[in-house]
Each structure stands twice: as C-alpha cells, then as structure tokens.
C-alpha cells in the first residue's frame, strides 16, 4: 500500500494521490503484534505441529472409508435432530413475532419496548449449547431440552431482526390506516406486515437453517438428536462412523439450504 515514488521535481505542490494513512498502519501493526503475542500463549511449537500433522494423517486414515453400516442408529439420530429443528423453529418463530413487535421502538411505548429488548438481549447472550445445559438440568436429558434451548436462541435472533426491520419501515401507511380509524390489529396486519414480510421470510428460513445446524449439536450436552451419537462415536474412537455422521449432517444441511431457497422463492 506504499505511495508511489516521489513526484519529479518541477511540480512543486502536487498532492500525493495515495497518501499513507499512518493511524491505519499503526493499527495494522498493533494487530500483528497482538497476534504474535496471543500465538505465543498458545504454546505452539514446531514439534507439536509436526506431531499434530502425523496425528492428523493417522486420524484421516482411520476415518476412511466412512462406515455407514450402523444405519439405524444414524437415521434415528438424524430424524430426532430434524424433529427438534422443526418444532423449535415453529415455536421460536411464533413466539418471536410478538416479542419483535413489542421491541420496535417506533410503534410501541417505552415501557413495553425496553423489557422486550432486555428479553431479546438475554436470549441472545448465551450460546445454544449453554442454554441446552441449563434446560437439561431443568427438564432432564432428551429432545425436550434441545427444543427449548433452540426456541430460546430462535427468539433472540428473529425477534431482534424483526424489531430492526419494523423500525425501518415507512410510517405513512400506518398514519393513513390510523386516520381511517383502523384498530391496532388492523394497522399491524395491513400496514406493518406487508412492509416486513419479505425480510421476515428471509430471517425465518435462515433460522430454520441455523436450527438445523445447532440441533445436530445440542446432543453433545444431552439435548437429544444426532449430537449425542456423534459425541459417543468420538469418545469410542469410532472415527469412520464419525465421518459417516458428518457426511450425513452436511447432506441434511445442504438439503435444508435448498429447501430454504425454495421457500424464499415461493414468498418473493
């Protein structure tokens, strides 16, 4: 990014077209220094890296070929993960709509929007897996804990985006509806929803996708689904089965992405 060589002498006051940005360079330098320092705390040594590479080669060797023989176990886990994702998305989206509406500061009074925003912030602050740990304590091992954990994270994500989308809408249709004497429900249904529906479909399909990903993971802490199978396979060093599970998960997520694209097209 350095500046081109100094301009020839005759032009006395020619501005450098690309002046060096010293604060930005200092920031880059600082970032590089930090990275070196942080890397040094990781205790990465060359031997460990080489050892790791050898280990990795052995690891990949044991993964191949993927072992699809435990079909029943694999399918049962996958189906439970799908069920968790579908229920959590449906319940989460349903609950997120009123919360998101309540959190929109341009439509709601302060005493309603601040508590709603607080609830959203609380739902968003913990990773789904940590929420799953708490729900496993509250409702025991199994799919229910996973569903509740994903419902919480869906509310946090979708309600926030709905609130932001509503805060950006044009207020003119709302004013017109109010002037014509529409009830609050009428204003929401006819003036707010049409303006945010497009983006809402986008968030909802994204959340379905992300719930699908996370539902394969809550099992690691006892929340049901294929995560439990995956974690057990890891602990038993069944790496060929691990690879089979990973391939199956990637396949399901890829199919989910296609489905999400189809849904978005349908509601365009």
């Amino acid at each position: 990014m350095s500046a081109p060589a100094a301009a020839p002498a005759p032009a006395p006051a020619r501005r450098d077209p690309f002046p060096p940005n010293w604060p930005a360079r200092a920031a880059w330098g600082g970032l590089a220094l930090y990275a070196l320092y942080a890397a040094s705390t990781l205790e990465v040594t060359w031997e460990r890296f080489v050892y790791g590479l050898g280990n990795g080669a052995r690891f990949i060797g044991r993964m191949l070929p993927p072992d699809f023989s435990k079909t029943e176990l694999l399918l049962r886990g996958l189906i439970e993960s799908l069920e968790i994702a579908v229920i959590a998305s449906a319940v989460g989206i349903l609950l997120a709509m009123p919360v998101g509406l309540m959190a929109a500061r341009n439509l709601m009074p302060r005493w309603l929007s601040w508590p709603a925003r607080g609830l959203i912030a609380l739902c968003r602050s913990f990773h789904a897996v940590i929420v799953a740990i708490l729900f496993v304590k509250a409702v025991g091992f199994g799919a229910l804990a996973g569903i509740l954990a994903l419902v919480v994270s869906s509310i946090g994500f979708i309600a926030k985006l709905i609130a932001e989308a509503i805060e950006e809408i044009s207020l003119k249709p709302i004013e017109a509806m109010r002037a014509a004497g529409a009830s609050f429900g009428g204003v929401v249904a006819m003036a707010v929803v049409p303006q945010v529906l497009d983006r809402f479909v986008g968030f909802a399909t994204y959340q379905l996708d992300s719930n699908l990903r996370n539902s394969t993971m809550v099992g690691i802490v006892g929340g049901g689904g294929i995560g439990a199978t995956l974690f057990t396979a890891f602990q038993k060093f069944d790496y060929d089965f691990v690879l089979a599970i990973l391939i199956a998960i990637i396949g399901v997520i890829f199919a989910g992405e296609l489905l999400a694209g189809w849904i978005r097209d349908t509601f365009k």
């Binding site: 990014m1 690309f18 970032l31 930090y34 990275a35 942080a38 890397a39 705390t41 990781l42 205790e43 990465v44 460990r48 790791g52 280990n55 990795g56 690891f59 189906i79 439970e80 799908l82 069920e83 968790i84 579908v86 229920i87 449906a90 912030a121 602050s125 913990f126 990773h127 897996v129 940590i130 740990i133 708490l134 304590k137 509250a138 409702v139 025991g140 199994g142 799919a143 229910l144 569903i147 990903r213 996370n214 394969t216 993971m217 690691i220 802490v221 049901g224 995956l230 974690f231 890891f234 790496y239 990973l246 998960i249 990637i250 997520i253 890829f254 849904i263 349908t266 509601f267």
Partner: protein, 265 residues
C-alpha cells in the same frame, strides 16, 4: 350486456399452488415431528420446581472460583476468539476472492471456492473443535483452529459477495492505465469493499467470542473448560460465576463492536 368475468387476483395459480404446497408441507412436518418426538410431558410439569432448585444451588455464588480458574480461562477465550478470527480472515480472503466471479472469471475455480466455503460452514464449531482436539490434543490450539475453520465459510462467503457487487468503473480505469493486478486489487476493489470487510470482521469476532465460550466443553480450551469442570462436579455456585462472566464478556464485546463500528464505518 355482457358482464366482465375477469377477477383481479394477487397471485398466479402457480404461485398459489406453491404457497399451498409450502403450508401443507410445513403443517405435515410440524405435525409429524410433534407426534414422533420423544418428549415426556411430565418432565415439563416438573420444570418450575427444577428451575427453583437450580437457582437455590447457584446461590450464594462462589466468587472465589473466579480468581482460581475463571480469570485465566477468560483471557484464553479472548485469545482464542481474536486469534481465530484473524487466522480465519487470512485464510478466507483468498478463498473469497476465488469465489467472486468478476475477479476470477473461471467457473470451476469459483465452484471449488464455494464448495470450500459451504463445507466450512456446515460443520459446526464444536464439531471442528472435536476434530482438532483429536488431532492436536486438548487445549487452546484446537479451539483457535476450530474457530478459524468455522469462520472461513462465513467471512469468505460475505467477502466474496461484497467483491461481486463492486462497481466496474474504477477497475476498468485502473486496467486502462496499465496498473498491475496487485494495484488493481488494492486501489480498485479494496476501497470499495473495505467497509463491508470491517463490518464482516467485527460481526464474526462478536460471534466468535460467544462460540469460543463453549468450545471448552469438548476440551478445546477457554472458559468452557471452567464451566465443564464446575458442571461435572455439580458445583452450580461455581457454574453460575462462569455463566455471569460469559454474560459480562458478551455484553462488553457487543459494546466494543458497536463503538468500533461507529468510529471506522
């Protein structure tokens, strides 16, 4: 007099059929899931009591645990998230560039880059962490690599899309005056994607702070290790301290991101 038989309809029959198909599919999926899922309703009724018990066990908080184990783990979490993000950006920039069809006008290479990005995103960070723990052993190195590999897909995808939506004008001008490829990128593309780049990097760092807090559950270092220890020993008063610490860090990260974003964007 012939009455006009035409009626105005918002959607074409095809659109309506697709919507009906979607509603049917959604209802069937939800119904089937509700019927088949293995949930014991009695557990749900028991929930208030269990939650009350949880809070009773958490109180009073064991603040001594913070100095003993949490603080160090917290610093490690910060390093994992930040270093992982930096590493991810370093790896994702070239892949994102390869994925941008206006920068690399060769379709097979675009598709290869997109495949790399999709596989990075499909594997969850916890699963990446499991893989790297198996390869490098437990510790922060596995966590950093897990965060980095999970973030490549995210950063690369968004960066590639930002590159694809740049304006042609400045780039053609640079080509016309005979600028070498590196200069075309630095002076033509980079200024146009810079705001998007910073916003992506900050957003991902924010996410990574949250994600690196759970990596310890599978042995990949950071504050999750402290949480895991407390949970296995059923010391809920210590687990509560860890949870409050995570809450504080996440809030601090969000405030920091908002502040930096308003300054540099």
């Amino acid at each position: 007099m012939i009455r006009d038989q035409r009626r105005w309809q918002r959607f074409t029959p095809m659109q309506r059929a697709r919507r009906a198909a979607f509603y049917l599919l959604a209802a069937a999926a939800i119904g089937q899931s509700l019927r088949a899922v293995d949930v014991i309703p009695e557990f749900l009724q028991d929930m208030p009591e269990q939650v009350a018990d949880l809070f009773r066990r958490m109180w009073p908080l064991d603040w001594g645990y913070y100095g003993k184990a949490v603080h160090e783990a917290l610093i490690e979490t910060f390093h994992i998230a930040t270093l992982g993000t930096i590493l991810a950006i370093g790896l994702a920039l070239p892949v994102g560039m390869l994925a941008a069809s206006n920068l690399v006008p060769w379709r097979p290479l675009n598709l290869l880059a997109k495949l790399i990005l999709v596989s990075s995103r499909s594997v969850n960070s916890l699963v990446w962490a499991l893989l790297f723990v198996a390869v490098f052993g437990p510790g922060a190195l596995a966590g950093t690599l897990a965060i980095a590999f999970r973030s490549i897909g995210f950063v690369g995808k968004l960066f590639g899309e930002a590159l694809e939506s740049t304006a042609r004008g400045p780039i053609e001008a640079l080509h016309a005056v005979g600028a070498p490829p590196a200069s075309v990128f630095l002076k033509g593309y980079w200024p146009q994607v810079q705001p998007a780049f910073w916003s992506i990097a900050l957003f991902r760092w924010d996410i990574n702070i949250r994600e690196s807090a759970v990596l310890g559950l599978v042995g990949a270092g950071g504050i999750g290790m402290a949480l895991d220890t407390a949970l296995t020993l059923l010391y809920w008063d210590q687990a509560a301290v860890v949870l409050l610490t995570i809450l504080a860090v996440v809030a601090a990260a969000e405030i920091a991101v908002t502040a930096i974003r308003s300054r540099i964007l």
